[in-house]
């Protein structure tokens, strides 16, 4: 089938049909149907609804049917239904051109990538706004800008939104977009599942925000029992959110692994695979294996809250440790789900801007796989002072500290790639270099937390909060922006403004460090996490942090201005390969044609052949799209 066989008739604009609007309407309808059913279930065991004035069964059923309605409105049910009726299988939905495909179910991996970027961006900004409000409250030691309960909800919303949505921050937008292009494929292995992961994530984020209609939730992102069971119906939003995020991550991981394993073009052996794909495989395997544990824990919590089981209530035979164990068996791999894509982006971009091959390819791969493996063996370091398994603490101390060995591989490979290179300080490169600085501080502070005697003081304090912001914000969000500045010209065909990009970088980098470095001191000086009030002698440092955080927030607005200005107003066309990369995706025209490759390419080398005398290109690239020849 050839792409230009027939001039396609322009698709008619339809307001009624399978699209986002229908999805939203059916989502609201679904909620009220579920709510109605929930209110008509009569059973003696749920008589407490009358006392509490809250009906968790109705809320859960409402959320469940809301998601079903949303997906049905987007058209996810029509294909299974068509297959049931005997229609032939198909891989494609809405892959023609046009803006409308961005507002519905589309199986083009490039559309899904851009959908992810915008969708995650929106929730990232909402989560960031919550952080601003938290820092506003902490301007005064005994301040009451927000009542205590609402403050806890803000803390929970910030943490949950960031941990849940940002888990897919690199894999969602960038792996979906570039992995098929890097490996010479025309699509992902499961295109409909790919679209489903995105829309599930959007449903999750929206439902989490509705927690404020149900009284919020007091537990932070960990959702510890039995506080979880004790909370208002707002807790149900948290549970549904993480459940949907869990399903979304599980399917995303599955799809990534299947794609990279089965759909590589001829000649793309494992040792020629771009390092980014190795990072994606590592992350995806964590997603695939860790999410089910989270989903199981949340199902138990749901049953405790509705059907009156007692998995987590000690006085009725349950255990609070059970929830903590399950949560962190998921939670620690989750931390590396957030960190590993950062490693992958840094190692992928450094060779391009240092103009050298990736140094120690095998060591870099071993490093990421080693982190993946070890991240399963460390979870009880979150429970060092909890009184669980006191005699296992030396083991968890050792396993946690061992993780710095494979992490060190990544550092070594990155650093040696820079060594003797010809480093170009482009905006994406600046973000990658900042990663080294941030992750170094995050890693070294992690040693204090991994070491039990030291952890006794730092555990649960602002120190640990500063630590994971250095690793997650410093490690993931900085590389998220590196990836945006790097791949946006390919994804949109337009350049981002370089000067605004540099202003964005420097304000963000300085404000980030000015925000989080003092938090180590505040933690060491005895301020626990998630408090609404603190001793007055810590006010100066807290005010410093708050002001820095506001500057950090403002730096995001610089980025937003750049993004809107460059892509909507200035619209400077990007050359085909502005960075001089040897990776396959940059050999394609910008933006990439719908079917990527007319002929599947054949690989003869890895994409890191910088400085080779013969100037080999990594792949024979028969790019046949008519418009895309020039650069």
């Amino acid at each position: 089938m050839s792409a230009n066989a027939a001039v396609p008739t322009p698709p008619r604009r339809r307001v009624v049909g399978y699209n986002l609007l229908t999805g939203l309407v059916l989502g609201v309808v679904g909620y009220y149907v579920g709510w109605w059913i929930g209110h008509h279930i009569h059973a003696t065991s749920i008589g407490y609804f009358a006392d509490t004035n809250q009906n968790d069964i109705a809320v859960f059923l409402g959320y469940f049917l809301s998601v079903v309605g949303f997906l049905a409105g987007l058209g996810f049910l029509s294909y299974p239904w068509a297959r049931v009726r005997g229609y032939p299988p198909s891989l494609r939905e809405k892959e023609t051109a046009g803006v409308a495909r961005y507002f519905g179910l589309c199986t083009d991996h490039k559309v899904v990538g851009i959908q992810y970027l915008i969708g995650i961006g929106v929730f990232f900004f909402i989560g960031g706004l919550n952080a601003m409000l938290i820092r506003f409250e902490l301007l005064r030691p005994g301040g009451q800008a927000f009542p205590a309960g609402n403050y806890l909800t803000l803390v929970g919303l910030h943490g949950t939104m960031m941990m849940g949505i940002m888990s897919s921050a690199i894999l969602g937008p960038f792996a979906n977009y570039v992995v098929p292009l890097m490996i010479g494929a025309r699509r992902m292995a499961f295109p409909r599942i790919e679209a489903l992961t995105f829309w599930l994530l959007m449903a999750a984020g929206t439902l989490l925000a509705t927690t404020i209609f149900f009284g919020g939730f007091p537990t932070g992102w960990t959702g510890y029992e039995p506080l979880n069971d004790q909370a208002n119906s707002g807790m149900d939003s948290y549970i549904v959110f993480f459940g949907l995020v869990g399903i979304s991550m599980l399917l995303l991981g599955l799809n990534m692994i299947a794609t990279i394993v089965t759909m590589r073009a001829p000649g793309l052996t494992w040792s020629r695979l771009p390092i980014f794909c190795w990072g994606v495989i590592s992350t995806a395997s964590l997603m695939l294996l860790a999410s089910p544990v989270l989903i199981a824990a949340l199902l138990m919590a749901t049953l405790d809250r509705t059907a009156q089981t007692s998995f987590f209530i000690p006085s009725a035979g349950g255990s609070t440790y059970l929830y903590q164990n399950l949560f962190w068996v998921f939670g620690h791999p989750e931390v590396y789900i957030l960190a590993l894509p950062g490693f992958a982006v840094v190692l992928e971009l450094l060779p391009v801007f240092a103009r050298k091959p990736l140094w120690g390819y095998r060591l870099a791969v071993a490093g990421m796989l080693g982190v993946t493996l070890l991240s399963w063996l460390v979870w009880q370091h979150h429970l060092f002072v909890s009184g669980i398994n006191g005699d296992l603490r030396p083991f968890y101390m050792l396993s946690t500290e061992l993780i710095s060995i494979p992490t060190g591989f990544t550092f070594l490979c990155g650093m040696m790639t820079l060594w003797r290179g010809r480093i170009r300080y482009t905006v994406p490169m600046l973000f990658c270099l900042a990663w080294f600085f941030n992750f170094l501080i995050g890693g070294l502070s992690g040693v204090f937390l991994s070491d039990v005697p030291s952890d006794v003081t730092t555990h649960g304090s602002f120190f640990s909060m500063a630590h994971f912001h250095y690793t997650i914000m410093g490690g993931l969000v900085f590389t998220f922006f590196a990836a945006i500045y790097y791949w946006i010209p390919k994804m949109t065909g337009f350049q981002l403004n370089d000067r605004l990009g540099k202003i964005h970088f420097w304000t963000m980098f300085i404000a980030f460090n000015s925000t989080f470095a003092p938090l180590f001191a505040i933690g060491f000086m005895g301020q626990p996490r998630r408090v609404v009030t603190y001793p007055s002698h810590l006010q100066f440092l807290n005010d410093w942090v708050s002001v820095s955080a506001f500057v950090l927030g403002a730096s995001m607005l610089v980025f937003l201005a750049n993004f809107v200005w460059s892509l909507v107003f200035a619209r400077v066309p990007a050359p085909r390969n502005p960075w001089g990369s040897r990776s396959l995706e940059w050999q394609l025209p910008s933006p990439v044609p719908v079917h990527n490759f007319d002929k599947i390419p054949v690989f003869t080398d890895d994409p890191y052949g910088y400085g080779d005398d013969d100037g080999r290109v990594p792949a024979v690239v028969p790019v046949g799209a008519p418009a895309g020849g020039g650069s």
């Binding site: 927000f146 803000l154 004790q230 208002n232 209530i313 809107v564």
Partner: protein, 221 residues
């Protein structure tokens, strides 16, 4: 700038308007809480507060009609559901509390003895030294000031229980009087220690974790 540019401006403007609206909504929600109440003080040295505790707040005063709650009598003798009180520093606060609720019992029996008061706590005029753990209906406690006041219950077989808040003194009730000193300026939280939130795990959810019901602030200025 062609029609595309104008379209983009319209979209950007629309996004801005929606974002501002959402921002205001979140900001408004985040700052929402019970209004502060300042008693008309007789002098800066001494203040009188009149409080009642009810088993169910009713639909008139709250969107959660079945929740237990504190009410305070404002300066025009109306009962209001607010738990944030502004009081002068280093003042004596004389509290008269009418309880219309039955017994719930304490989870920690230690909290059945009054602490940190000026003089003693009196229940229907009689001095109270300690209450058996199955008795208390609520407590009024300001841990930072060391204040703890267990509140005696209305009997289970009361003939004339109060149905709808605010309750009138013609219903069966207990009268608790006590005096405490506010101390130096600051925001002091107060709470109830009795698991009185029916239907919640350990009796400690809902109204026990919401400002405006069983929790509040004593703002000493």
């Amino acid at each position: 700038m062609g029609s595309r540019g104008w379209k983009a401006i319209c979209v950007a403007g629309g996004v801005l308007v929606v974002a501002t609206a959402i921002g205001f909504y979140i900001g408004g929600w985040a700052t929402s809480g019970p209004a502060s109440f300042t008693p008309a003080s007789q002098s800066s040295r001494s203040v009188n507060l009149t409080i009642q505790t009810v088993a169910a707040i009713g639909p008139k005063l709250s969107p959660n009609p079945s929740w237990v709650s504190y009410l305070i009598r404002d300066n025009s003798n109306q009962w209001r559901r607010t738990t944030v009180w502004k009081l002068p520093a280093h003042a004596l606060v004389h509290v008269t509390l009418y309880n219309f609720d039955g017994a719930s019992g304490l989870r920690n029996p230690f909290l059945g003895a009054p602490q940190g008061l000026v003089g003693s706590e009196r229940v229907d005029g009689k001095v109270l030294t300690a209450m058996p753990p199955d008795q208390p209906s609520h407590t009024f406690a300001v841990p930072e000031l060391g204040i703890l006041v267990p509140i005696a219950p209305v009997a289970d077989d009361a003939k004339n229980p109060c149905d709808v808040a605010p309750c009138q003194l013609s219903s069966d009730h207990r009268t608790i009087t006590f005096t405490f000193r506010t101390g130096k300026p600051g925001h002091y939280r107060w709470q109830c220690f009795v698991p009185c939130a029916a239907g919640w795990l350990y009796g400690f959810g809902g109204p026990m974790q919401s400002l405006g019901y069983m929790d509040g602030f004593v703002n000493v200025v």
